[in-house]
Symmetry: none
Amino acid sequence: MSVERILVVDDEPQIQRFLRPALSAAGYEVLEAMTGAEALKAAATTAPDLVILDLGLPDMDGKEVIANLRGWSQVPIIILSARDRESEKIAALDLGADDYIEKPFGIGELTARIRTALRHRVQMEGGQTQLSADGVSIDTIKRVVTKDGQPLRLTPKEYDLLVMLAHHAGRVVTHKTLLTSVWGVAHGEDLHYLRVFIGQLRGKIERDPADPRIIRTEPGVGYRFVGDDG
Amino acid sequence: MSVERILVVDDEPQIQRFLRPALSAAGYEVLEAMTGAEALKAAATTAPDLVILDLGLPDMDGKEVIANLRGWSQVPIIILSARDRESEKIAALDLGADDYIEKPFGIGELTARIRTALRHRVQMEGGQTQLSADGVSIDTIKRVVTKDGQPLRLTPKEYDLLVMLAHHAGRVVTHKTLLTSVWGVAHGEDLHYLRVFIGQLRGKIERDPADPRIIRTEPGVGYRFVGDDG
DNA sequence: GCGCGCGCTGAGCCGTCTTTGAGGAGGGCG
DNA sequence: CGCCCTCCTCAAAGACGGCTCAGCGCGCGC
């Protein structure tokens, strides 16, 4: 397993200064966000393995952040909060948070709860760097896509879209997940973008774009990348 | 979802007297055990959906119970404890417990954490084999339904309906439950939708749609998904 | 300035899914 | 036996989602 990446969302610098070295020492890579908007953007662009979220953010309610994240991502979320009102806890957990820790807390407990949350995560083949399907192969390290050995010219958006789909090979990726990760959280509803770019991608990678084998449409839900193993 | 069964392991009668009515009121079926040995036996024989475990047991250390359970079961475990030593929490979580709640606690928080833990279980089960019945198998992670190995084309509503029924395999799901979960609360009375779509589903998954084996009609009540195990 | 590649937007067409309606089979009960 | 309630089937409309194409704007290199 490669190093897990944790997004820490907190507007208090002292918390960041406390958590960053502690989590680094525990072997995690730490990403930071100070506001809810930053957090959503970072979650979409960097796809962290876990999110630690302070409920008290300057720009939006932490509960909104949870709800937005859960609209398109299954990433584990651990809430940190100084508020110990039971209704807050219940609301956050029912919105989809995975754990809720009250301040003050010990770093040992936090890392133990992080390990627990990461255990829950459904095992996926995220670390793949080489994928292939029907003559098309993707090398995410070289950032090169070839079809029958010939290199293909893909635009940045086309490439991001293809990689996102390929990382979830065999599974359906919802419209919202694709839009959020490729275009950003602000475009989670712009379905039309997706249709146009899927069309362009198919034109480049499919043998017969009218009968797509690699990128299948799942009506009303999203798209599915079908790899060589089915 | 059928009624989830929760095993409460605690040797203090007042805790049992407190939890039993509270959990029953929240819609769960409560099983009880007073000792670690009883708990392990009960877990093995009744296969509860979740275990609530007090660390302070008379006959053995709660941590042993966790370790033993984890040797053969993935059932979610929530620890209750009056001991708030951080090392206890860390040890329990790293042994495989899913959550750790300190006494005293609110019943609202407990049920919220129960819901969270049960949510995880559904995710994990989805990753496993998933249900099969009479040649039809459903994989909710890939979102694929196959019949005798051949993938089936199901529309979104058909798929939602089938998954809803399969999640409650062996039990009757009422018309109203199906309608509100697939079509939304506004269509809780549109029984006709259900009849049409059940008909379409049977046409696709049953060997003989006129003599349905997988989706049985329960006249006046609802429908029942019958899995391979009965 | 000019051309080009890329991303975004709008319009139109098409196929499928959903909804709706009508008609008929089966079973319980007076 | 005949009525009525529940359930099933079939078919057609309309709505919706999906695909394609054409065009515009922007930034970059020449």
